[in-house]
Assembly symmetry: C2
Homo-oligomer: 453 residues x 2
């Protein structure tokens, strides 16, 4: 029996796909990266399926690439040659939702926004909300430690992860963390798995923290600026002023234009940047008024405080579709640098200067309240990879980020895309420690090899 | 030259203490545990001192026990025979405090409350506030992932740790994390060190997150109950009602009595439990009124909403002195179990029943909003260790906790005290992983051996 036949035999009928036309559709994430060809794709439906795959993979030393919805932007779920893609999107049970303990126990394939909606029926919410939250999964969010729009107030995915059930490389099951909001027994293995991009184990269940949902729809403001720098200064003023926004997003002109070309939003020629901010606090309206004053003081040409929920949702929806709008313009290298908040204006200026000098089209959106910038480098559709000037510009953006005390990736992960810059940020000691830890969990090196570290 | 002489020569004059009368005073934490006798105590004043100690210790394979203020309650800083105690309380610099980025960079010996006070000059606060925060250090708080009174709203120490500088067992320097509020480059080594109780490295600097301080003093309530179970039910109602307290503490009659005997607080005979709650939200007064109604509805015999800051501070001060009050009664085995919040009433009842059956005096205080209970087992002063009935009762408390989905330690750490129960909670797979990780950081096993894992 061949190894593949053994895999097929180990699982229920229909769970192993080997037709290359089919497997290829599970080989990519949202990046342009050219994947290797998978040996097979497993559509896991249970923890036992995952255990069977990992036992088989350990025996045959076959690489395994775990996969959620494939919405990643760093290449973390890109298939490697001859791997098994372990797709978890069919494990969609919300096993438990406890309003009293404000926790949920979920399988990795649950769509992020579905969990949030389920929680809201009890006056709770699942706070982390990456832009992709209507299509991304909790498992993928955990693997990348995804951020989102609300994390300026509520923190990233790790801040909502209390405990995990993980299948290790050899098929053993590890339970990490707990159901309590506090706990210090043992090392923080939960935190270690969150953001490890499938290189340490396969998450088959997560106990996540829910939070009280705000009682009313957040107060929302939109502000337009004649320059990105002014918008960035307004962001700094909003944070320093203690407004505690629950959302604080920035879009540059190139992004607004891409959206305008698609959706016809009536963009004025003078607008170079837009801020969208929300406050979901009890005194949200007061906070919104203060934020609008700070925008005006920092040069906004137009500020509106929205009283209307539909209008606000359209505004946020526009922000969430920013990436799709850019994909219409060309292939995209999406970056994800994050700087200390005070460095935001200078970092914005640096990106503009780098784009101009390399004659590269960069559209930038930012989770501005966190200092987390997404400069999107747009290049010609159909090229096998970004042209040299895009890589050169990206390289400069990374170095500028690190020079300002920032990090290469705020929320997307290192994946494949950022590995060549990784050592610049972490240094040789951390690199050795990373590989030492990897060795503890995955001595054969079969779990998502070549990613993240 | 002897090993000790080499150590003395490697450091500036006066930094190495070897007189047993002096070194013994650095050998204990706040537990009753009998320490081993240290070879020497090093009073480190800089990272270079720490590097010198670790290089020397690696060369001579001498165990090193890092130490902050020695306020730990689990034995984590207890000296082991022939070790060097590496005392970090003289490294007290706040190297940086950036209001714009809402971060501080601090040395490990900074007293926790001092950092909080420094932040408040800029309208910020350092949120984690263990009861010992006027005497404990940031380094010790990081080592144990300390909680505190405010963590029901603001999270534990790990939630405020952004990055660390760590001296590894062999003297190399590892920088973890970042200065930004978000970041996913590499594994979460910061989270791994926080709570690792000095077993993975020695923290010589930390970048911590500051938060906006509330603009007014929190609204405060105190409520008295005729039974602990009623008080616990009120806690559950306050959490489930979305009141979002910034402090929610419970004291049982035994604790109140100990305080009364010491400070004469005029305790009424019928009072079996007291709740103290605060809200530091903008609508704190409203939240406090709601909490007081929920206390009354759950059987409180007396509820007061305090408008007076001094009165409130006396109340909180009383809570913070609960442990000292109990130390007057006898030697204390302080436990630190944490259960899902909905399990609080049943867990309280279980502790009462266990105390009665074993005829053991247990005084309980709780960070009730987190489900984190501190049953303090009081026994005769001067005994070398707790009598068998105390251990038997503690054993039952731990097993009841785990049966209810709880954890052995919410915030004090495993240290030495809880090691014999550790495997009950973590299981053999996690145990193996813990030791694998320990091996990566400390292959010679010289860092705080026999603790935590």
């Amino acid at each position: 029996m061949t190894a593949t036949a053994e895999l097929i035999a180990a699982l229920a009928p229909g769970r192993v796909l080997t037709d290359p036309d089919v497997t290829d559709s599970y080989a990519r994430d949202r990046t342009f990266l050219e994947p290797g060809r998978p040996l097979a794709v497993v559509l896991a439906e249970s923890r036992d399926d995952v255990v069977a795959v990992m036992r088989w993979a350990s025996e045959h030393r076959v690489p395994v690439v775990p996969r959620g919805a494939g919405t990643g932007l760093a290449g973390g779920a890109t298939a490697v040659e001859g791997c098994v893609v372990l797709a978890l999107h069919k494990m969609t049970a919300i096993r438990e939702l406890s309003p009293a303990d404000e926790i949920a126990v979920v399988e990795p394939g649950v769509i992020t926004a579905d969990l949030d909606r389920a929680a809201r029926e009890f006056g709770l919410m699942y706070a982390p909300d990456p832009s992709s939250y209507e299509i991304s999964t909790i498992g993928g969010n955990l693997a990348t430690n995804a951020g989102g729009l609300r994390c300026v107030k509520y923190g990233v995915t790790r801040d909502s992860a209390l405990g995990l059930e993980v299948v290790l490389a050899d098929g053993r099951i590890l339970n990490t963390g707990r159901r309590t909001v506090k706990g210090v027994t043992g090392y923080d293995l939960t935190g270690l798995f969150v953001g490890s991009e499938g290189t340490l184990g396969v998450i088959t269940s997560a106990t996540v923290r829910l939070r009280r949902a705000p009682l009313t729809y957040p107060a929302t403001i939109a502000a337009e600026f004649g320059s990105l720098r002014e918008a960035a200064a307004a962001v700094a003023a909003i944070i320093a002023g203690g407004c505690q926004p629950s959302l604080l997003e920035m879009l540059d002109r190139a992004t607004l234009q891409a959206i305008d070309e698609w959706k016809n939003i009536g963009l004025e020629p003078s607008v170079q940047a837009m801020l969208i901010a929300q406050s979901d606090a009890v005194d949200g309206q007061t906070a919104a008024e203060r934020m609008s004053v700070l925008c005006a003081e920092n040069g906004a040409s137009f500020v509106a405080v929205s009283a209307d929920r539909q209008e606000a949702e359209e505004l946020i929806g526009m922000r969430r579709m920013a990436y799709q709008a850019k994909e219409r313009l060309g292939a995209c290298l999406v970056e994800d640098v994050c700087v200390p908040r005070s460095a935001l204006p200078d970092m914005i200026s640096a990106i503009e200067e780098i784009a101009a000098r390399h004659e590269v089209r960069i559209c930038t959106v930012a989770h501005a309240g966190d200092g987390n910038l997404h400069p999107v480098f747009v290049f010609e559709h159909g090229l096998p990879e970004p042209p040299p000037e895009v890589w050169a510009a990206a390289d400069e953006v990374f170095r500028e980020t690190l020079r300002r005390g920032g990090t290469l990736t705020g929320e997307h992960g290192v994946g494949l895309l950022k590995r060549r810059w990784l050592a610049l940020e972490t240094g040789p000691v951390a690199e050795e420690i990373h590989h030492g830890i990897k060795q503890v969990f995955d001595p054969l090196g079969i779990l998502n090899p070549g990613k993240a570290i």
